[in-house]
Symmetry: C2
Subunit: 125 residues, 2 copies
DNA sequence: GAAGTGTACTAATTGAGATAGTACAACTAA
DNA sequence: TTAGTTGTACTATCTCAATTAGTACACTTC
C-alpha cells in the first residue's frame, strides 16, 4: 500500500505524507478509514516509529487525519479540499512550465500538438 | 547576475549549476565568455570557494564549460544542446503534469482554457 | 616578482533527518 | 484483572551530505 525510497532526496516522513495524501485523493482511503498504527507501519516499512510519528503529526496538523490516544489514527474529512488543493497546485505548476516554455521559444502550436497527443483515446471532455 | 538561496533545500552548488545553465540558455553568456573566477564568485556570493569549485567541476564534466589552469573558466559550445535538453526536460515534465491532471479528473477543456489564458497577448506562433 | 588563475588535498563543522530506547496514559479483548 | 495495543513525549545518539576552513602547487600575466 505504502512505499518509500530511502535513497530519495525527499525525506522519508515527507514521502509518507505525500503517499497518504495520494491514497486519500485516489479514494483508496475514505473518511474515518483507520490508518496503520505507528508501530505497525514502521515495522512494515522497516523504518523507525519516530519517523512515522513525525509524518502523522504533520498530517494531523494539516487536518488530513485525526488521532485518538489508544484508538488509532483515522482519515479526516478533507477529501474534497485535498482534491481542490492538488488541482490548484497542478495548475500552478502547469503555468510555471508554460511560462518557461514560452521563454525558451516553444510555440503554442507545439504545445497544442503535445496536448492532443497525450489526450488521444481519452473521453473525459 | 548570479543569486543563491542558502535556505533552499537545493544545495548551493546545484543552484549555481542551474543558474549558469540558465544564463547560457538565455543567451546572456555566449560561447567563450569568461566566467567569474572561483575566488571572485565565492567572494561575491559570500560562500566558500570550494563550493564554487564543485559547481564548476560538474559543469565541466557535463561539457557546459571548459577550464584552463591559470587562465580561467569559459563557456563551451553546447548552447543548442542545452536548449534542446531543457526543451525535452520541459516536455517531459509537461507530460507528467498532464498525466496527473487526467488522473485527478481535470478536463482537457479546462486545460485548453488555461492555455489560451496564459498565451494571450503573445504572438510567437 | 607579485597577483591572479584552476586544482587538489585534508580536516572540521553544520544541520536535517533518522535511529534507539524508554516511558506513560488510555483503550480493548482475553 | 491482565496482557497487549494505541498515540504521544522525551532525550540521546548516529549518519550523511553539504559546506567551510586552510593550505598548497603549477602556471600565466603584467
Amino acid at each position: 500500500m505504502l512505499t518509500i525510497d530511502v535513497k530519495s532526496r525527499k525525506p522519508i516522513y515527507e514521502q509518507i505524507i505525500d503517499n497518504i495524501k495520494e491514497l486519500i485523493i485516489q479514494g483508496v482511503w475514505s473518511r474515518d478509514t483507520q490508518l496503520p498504527s505507528v508501530r505497525q507501519l514502521a515495522g512494515d516499512l522497516a523504518i523507525n516509529p519516530n519517523t512515522i510519528q513525525k509524518a502523522y503529526s504533520e498530517l494531523e496538523r494539516q487536518g488530513i487525519i485525526y488521532s485518538m490516544k489508544s484508538k488509532g489514527s483515522f482519515v479526516a474529512s478533507g477529501v474534497d479540499e485535498l482534491r481542490k488543493e492538488r488541482k490548484e497546485q497542478l495548475f500552478k505548476e502547469f503555468g510555471r512550465i508554460l511560462e518557461e516554455m514560452r521563454e525558451i521559444g516553444i510555440t503554442s502550436r507545439e504545445i497544442e500538438e503535445r496536448l492532443q497527443e497525450q489526450w488521444k483515446g481519452v473521453q473525459n471532455d
